[in-house]
């Protein structure tokens, strides 16, 4: 069965290797070009546009969807082509159980995408390392977090699992692609956009107005605190004190309504690995869930 | 020899095989000692049920024309070829000269066939097998 999966999916696997190779070349040359470029100027916009703007920006954007590409390549056709062309009937009537047919495809596919994703993640971390120092972004920022560590592996695994399961359930590679793209985008938006910042309760620092400084970390929110300890949003304070601001300085105005301190909430950078572990676990559970759903299809009496 | 099966003829398939074998025995294409094609070969070529072939061979065996030898195959033991006697040769010569006359009288092949068939029917009865 192993031989069959390799033989059947060899074009897909070669494409996976090609994708990884392209990234290695792009990332390596991007790193070289960055290191060879003249010292950064103080002009932030010029710096962003010329020095590492395209490489950093596009590089991260495309790296964030590369797991999707790898998952589609290996997963979408894995079962759907067999079922579409009925070749699974050949396999299943030549001494191979449904379970073996399914398991060997899933295991080999998982192995391939995990290796590819691991190489990509390592190369990307290495290539962006000098840029990250200059750009000064937190390792928890959506772009950096999603392309480094073990999270890319988990995203790739999820994309593969979703594509393989959808292919088996819909018996159509095209439907599998559509479902995977939509599902992957939805999961990524929910995790990176909403859930990630709250994986652990954020840290809170309070201090005199204008006197709180947080170094590193992902800053989430800044607000004022009045004497009773209640939190007042910046915008709310601004609306209340609009008249006051026209004639007085802000500190005086704020004092008028009892605000004496400000507070900053943030996720510190040293939570990087904890967050990586939490997000990877979520994705692993999702992957397992879709695979279990597809495995249940095997037990049902449909001529898979 | 090679058997042919005419599927739409209405004649039972095994009978077609028997008839063809007898025809071959009459014409001398099958002679004493010759082996009939194995059932497997006939089945492969004609795609008919093996039992049909076996039934035809049993029929030929009952007529004493062939004999099944275990593990070897089915062999011709008696021929239906006309004895090559003086009488046969004389009849043949007469028929040849008659045929020439028929041709010169303007009879075609089908006319001759019809005429011969009619006479044969009257002489031997209607049974043509």
């Amino acid at each position: 069965m192993t031989w069959l999966v390799w033989r059947r999916q060899r074009v897909a696997f070669l494409l996976v290797v090609a994708v990884v190779l392209v990234w290695v070349v792009v990332l390596t040359s991007g790193r070289q070009a960055y290191l060879a470029a003249p010292e950064p100027t103080d002009d932030f916009i010029a710096l962003g546009m010329t020095r590492f703007g395209p490489f950093w920006g596009f590089g991260h954007s495309f790296l964030l969807i590369t797991p999707l590409l790898l998952g589609l390549l290996t997963g979408a056709g894995l079962f759907s082509r067999d079922v579409e062309q009925q070749t699974h009937l050949f396999v299943l009537t030549h001494g191979v159980s449904r379970r073996r047919w399914w398991t060997s495809g899933v295991l080999i596919g998982c192995g391939v995408v995990l290796i590819a994703a691991a190489v990509l993640s390592a190369v990307a971390s290495w290539a962006f390392a000098p840029l990250d120092v200059d750009a000064g972004e937190s390792v928890l920022s959506p772009a950096k977090f999603g392309v480094s560590g073990i999270v890319p592996l988990a995203y790739t695994l999820f994309a593969f699992a979703l594509a393989a399961a959808a292919g088996l359930l819909t018996r159509s590679a095209l439907a599998a692609v559509v479902i995977t793209v939509v599902g992957y985008a939805a999961v990524m938006i929910v995790l990176a956009g909403y859930l990630r910042v709250d994986y652990l309760p954020p840290m809170v620092v309070r201090g005199p107005i204008g006197g709180v400084e947080v170094v590193g970390g992902l800053q989430l929110n800044t607000s004022y605190v009045d004497g009773s300890g209640a939190e007042i949003g910046l915008e709310e304070a601004f609306r209340t004190l609009r008249g006051c601001y026209e004639t007085h300085d802000s500190r005086t105005c704020l004092a008028q309504i009892g605000i004496t301190e400000e507070q900053v909430t943030f996720q510190p950078d040293d939570r990087y690995w904890a967050f990586q572990a939490i997000e990877s676990t979520i994705l692993l559970l999702l992957s397992a869930a879709v695979l279990v759903v597809s495995a249940m299809r095997l037990r049902k009496d449909v001529p898979v | 020899m090679e058997f042919r099966v005419e599927r739409r003829s209405g004649v039972p398939t095994y009978l077609q095989l028997v008839t063809q074998a007898k025809q071959a025995l009459r014409l001398g294409t099958l002679r004493v000692g010759d082996q009939l094609p194995t059932a497997k070969t006939v089945v492969e070529r004609t795609a008919i049920n093996p039992n049909t072939v076996l039934k035809a061979y049993r029929e030929l065996e009952r007529d004493g024309l062939v004999e099944a030898r275990a593990g070897l195959g089915t062999f011709v033991v008696r021929t239906l070829a006309l004895p090559d006697s003086a009488a046969t040769q004389e009849l043949r010569a007469e028929l040849e000269s008659w045929m020439r006359r028929a041709a010169s009288a303007g009879l075609g092949r089908e006319d001759v066939d019809a005429l011969l068939g009619d006479i044969a029917d009257k002489t031997f009865g209607g049974d043509r097998t």
Binding site: F90, T93, H94, G95, D301, P303 | V43, T46, P50
Partner: protein, 287 residues
Amino acid sequence: MTDGTGVAVRADRLGKRYGARWALRDCSFELPAGRTAALVGPNGAGKTTLLMIAAGLLRPTAGTAEVTGSVGFLAQSKALYRTFRVAEMLRLTGRLEAAERWDGAYASRLVDEAGIDTERRVGRLTPGERARVAVALALGRRPDLLLLDEPLAELDPLARRQVMGMVLAEASGAGTTVLMSSHVIADVEEACDHLVLLRGGRVRVAGPVDALLDQHRLLTGPAGGAGIPAEAVVLASTAGRQTTALVRAAALPSPPAKSTSGLASARPGLEDLVMAYLQDANDGGAA
């Protein structure tokens, strides 16, 4: 290997439902070992479902299907990897099958005898060649029961004869029971000695062809069917001044009543029998 006296397939009140629709219902029949059986019926009668259940590819919703010995299955699509070379298909099957159950040399020889170059890709073979490769691969596991789903569909007449000839010759040599579906009676008429007729998901007729034909008569008489006992009729049709009826011999009066003596009576052909049972209005039990 079967001894030719046992039962190769035994279906007992077999049923299979897809959603709300019963593809098979209350199917009961026995196929004795060593037979070459035709599974006939119109499209949608449940032939593929029945074969897939017998092959272990589907689980029945109701009833049971027992199969004796090992099973070879040929899907209607032939189910070969079209991008593979024939040699790769042979090698693949050898890898999939347990070593003790796979006779690779035999499968290779069958492909060879069909005159097919094993370096060619499956997708480039003619439909007839593809069918013969698929049959060779199904036979390579030396099955006791060979299930063929519409093996001749989409083949030209020469290929039909070659494929059927190959199946029959190899199966008879090994004593293999064959069950093949077809919706073209002419394809299986000469090849099969056993009939299973499906209609609307139910078995309408099943049994040895010779016995079935002996159990029926084809009666011809004046229009109106006068004198033909209604309870014996499977199907009667009138054309011009003449009525033809396929009847069950057992239901005819014996000795022949005066009323039926004026009718011409003949043994029906397989096609007469099949056509009658495919068209009759009766949806009840089998003959």
